[in-house]
């Protein structure tokens, strides 16, 4: 009863919807609750963590498992602390009890897990697999924590039992060698990566992190740069280099915001031809990570192909909403790497582009939005139609664009989001596309405004 009321409160306050609070209440009443509920998962649990892509990868892996006829328990997008995972298991157990099934939670758990909460959640669940995808520079006021998080993930690697499969991104130099830290006597590690030179960037973006060697501290060189600091890296100082992945995307064909075709080499040389209704190279990583995890969990190739093909964009990840005869595309941009990948997708869309950029600085966004100066917006200038800047920090965006070389006559600044939406829609020709790049809380606000205008349904009803 308490838990239900708390859910209503949380829904009003934002992040994770009303989905986390019942778990928070239960964890406070019963500290071992997560381990107890997790123990009821007949198929064990998978924890997926990353700065970018954990929500989408969890959806992809869940779809592969379901396509193989497996029963999946998952947490709601963004409800990725211990409270959110507990709440998901609790809700599932209640549903099953209501259906007179007393076998506990049942099924296999697929959970996206906050980077900082991984240790606690993995400890409680003793997962079958842990999928670690990337560590990017996030909102700057969390940035002091990046090295601390890498250190904590190393602790997690040491503590995992031999039965847990570690699924690691070979292309992230901070993660590729975490498997070698395991104290358990095991070679239970699956590496994934991208091996298509055609998708490389010419140079590291300004937002690149981890350009130093974890072994000797020397600078890393790259034979291929894919997303942020990810790629084919090597240290000329001590000779450490990217290990060859077990699961590798050999051919990646990017086709705008909505489509991606991949040829993935699996274990034993098996070839998978995959199509996803997701756009961008960052999603190629998400798909490859999901394939690696699904393979490790014994999902047959056909189910993987079907599962990957079924997934549609998650909330705010290039989802499309129709508004006043325009197509509004929502592209969450919460950190420089995410924003750069969105921009790379936009460059493949037909010009002139109409943009609505919304920058908030609330707790879930990060209070310090100076990361916008590390985003490479400049390639967009030649392809722009209209630009509307909005959010708590609209004037900071105005300065970023102006000092980036876009004259103030070419953008409008609107302090109110409703005004900004009106202005952006008016500047977009009927039938045309308007691309919105909001931060996390800006996405929630924008979505609420769209619901108010009857253009979108309430996403809390999705799952």
């Amino acid at each position: 009863m308490i838990a239900a009321t708390a859910g209503g409160l949380s829904r009003a306050t934002g992040r994770g919807g009303g989905t986390s609070l019942p778990g928070m209440v239960l964890n406070r009443l019963e500290p071992g609750a997560l381990a107890r509920l997790g123990g009821g998962l007949g198929g064990g649990a998978v924890c997926i963590s990353a700065t970018n892509g954990k929500t989408t990868t969890a959806r992809l892996l869940s779809a592969c498992l379901r396509a193989a006829g497996r029963d999946v328990a998952a947490n709601a997008a963004g409800a990725n602390l211990a409270s959110g995972v507990t709440a998901a298991l609790l809700a599932r157990q209640r549903r099953r009890r209501a259906a007179r099934d007393s076998t506990g939670c049942g099924g296999i758990g697929v959970f996206e897990v906050d980077e900082a909460a991984l240790g606690q959640i993995a400890d409680a669940l003793g997962p079958r697999a842990v999928v670690l995808m990337n560590l990017f520079r996030d909102q700057l006021d969390r940035y002091g924590e990046l090295e601390a998080i890498a250190a904590r993930w190393a602790e997690v690697a040491r503590s995992l039992g031999p039965a847990t499969t570690m699924v690691l991104n070979a292309d992230d130099p901070a993660l590729a060698h975490l498997g070698s830290l395991r104290t358990a006597e095991t070679d239970n590690v699956v590496l994934f990566g991208i091996d298509d030179p055609a998708v490389g960037r010419p140079e590291l973006p300004h937002a690149a992190d981890a350009v130093r060697c974890g072994g000797c501290g020397g600078p890393l060189s790259h034979d291929l740069i894919t997303v942020g600091h990810l790629g084919h890296w090597r240290c000329d100082g001590c000779g450490v280099r990217r290990p060859q992945p077990h699961i590798s995307a050999r051919r990646v064909r990017l086709a705008g915001l909505d489509r991606l075709d991949l040829g993935v080499n699996g274990p034993g040389g098996a070839e998978l031809e995959l199509s996803a209704a997701l756009g961008g190279l960052h999603n190629a990583y998400n798909v490859t990570a999901a394939v690696a995890a699904a393979t490790a969990l014994g999902v047959p190739a056909e189910a993987i192909g079907n599962g990957i093909g079924e997934v549609r964009a998650a909330f705010g990840r290039a989802e499309q909403v129709s508004l006043d005869g325009r197509r509004l595309r929502l592209l969450l941009a919460k950190n420089p790497t995410g924003a750069n990948e969105n921009i790379r997708c936009l460059m493949a869309e037909p010009a002139p582009l109409n943009l609505l950029v919304v920058l908030n600085d609330r707790t879930a966004d990060g209070r310090d939005p100076s990361w916008i100066w590390d985003v490479d917006y400049e390639p967009l200038w030649d392809r722009l139609g209209s630009v509307t800047l909005a959010g708590d920090r609209c004037w900071d965006l105005a300065l970023r664009f102006s000092y980036g070389g876009l004259g103030p006559a070419r953008f409008a600044v609107r302090e109110s989001l409703a005004d900004a939406l009106d202005s952006a829609v008016a500047a977009t020709p009927p039938g045309g596309a308007l691309y919105a790049l909001p931060t996390y809380t800006a996405l929630l606000e924008l979505r609420a405004e769209l619901v108010r205008r009857g253009a979108a349904h309430d996403f809390w009803q999705e799952s």
């Binding site: 700057l140 006021d141 002091g144 300004h206 209070r367 100076s370 100066w373 900071d396 300065l399």
Partner: protein, 251 residues
């Protein structure tokens, strides 16, 4: 005749850039270009000696702890003497966040290790418990104490910095923590070398400070005063006002 040009050394742009230091450089360049003046940018990385054709302005930004230690050693080995000579000779220095700490005499890390700095600012820094984080507003003497002399920014530092007798504060803290959270001072000024924890980045929302630094740098290069023509700063001032309002609301 080529346009009057400021020579800028940007120290360690790859290693020391986490607080959007790129924005400060963009402001310096653009505010010169808008006046048909020019910027000659030299990026100086690890192992490289200072360029031998001099500089009017030196910039060093903030980095992660590990990078800051590497940079401290490299500074001492390859650049410190030249930088000291340059700044004592009247060139302009802007040292932000980690760069500010490195410009002082020393920095003691949380692990108790003491790292020597450039010593161009008479300050010392010791890592404290917890970080000082948030919006910050200063009243700065550099602008003659007028309302326009406010500096707005964001601070995020574990270091507690104390001023020696040879340095003045860059400003008095009106909102926020400042050098150490105790004495209401923020930043340091010695001659024309400035250190500060303010970022966000610093210069876009504080255009008067950018112009002060550019005027000094031109004076250093050409040995005479420059009257920088005023620019249309409506966006800058709107952002500045919004930052003041936000800081007043939040604390």
């Amino acid at each position: 005749m080529s346009a009057p040009t400021v020579r800028l050394w940007h120290l360690y742009p790859r290693e020391m850039n986490i607080y959007a230091d790129r924005g400060n450089i963009a402001v310096l360049r653009t505010r010169l270009h808008r006046r048909e003046l020019d910027l000659e940018l030299r990026e100086v990385g690890p192992g490289e000696g200072p360029p031998d054709d001099g500089a009017d302005l030196v910039y060093l930004g903030g980095g992660q702890d590990r990078d800051q230690l590497t940079v401290a050693a490299d500074l001492a080995a390859t650049k410190a003497a030249a930088l000291r000579g340059l700044l004592e000779g009247g060139a302009v220095g802007l040292f932000v966040c980690g760069g500010y700490q490195l410009a002082g005499h020393s920095y003691r890390t949380a692990a108790g290790e003491t790292v020597g700095g450039l010593g161009v600012l008479d300050v010392e820094t010791v890592a404290g418990d917890g970080r000082l984080i948030g919006d910050i507003v200063l009243a700065s003497e550099l602008a003659g104490g007028s309302e326009a002399g406010r500096l707005v920014g964001y601070e995020n530092h574990a270091g507690r910095t104390t001023l020696g007798d040879g340095a003045k504060a860059l400003g008095r803290v009106l909102k926020g923590h400042g050098n150490n959270g105790r004495d209401r001072s923020e930043g340091a000024v010695v001659n024309r070398t400035l250190g500060t924890y303010l970022h966000g980045p610093l210069l876009p929302k504080n255009p008067w400070l950018a112009d002060l630094l550019l005027g000094w740098a031109l004076e250093h290069r050409y040995g005479r005063g420059f009257d920088l023509e005023p620019l249309d700063d409506r966006l800058e001032l709107a952002a500045h006002r919004a930052a003041l309002a936000r800081a007043n609301r939040r604390r």
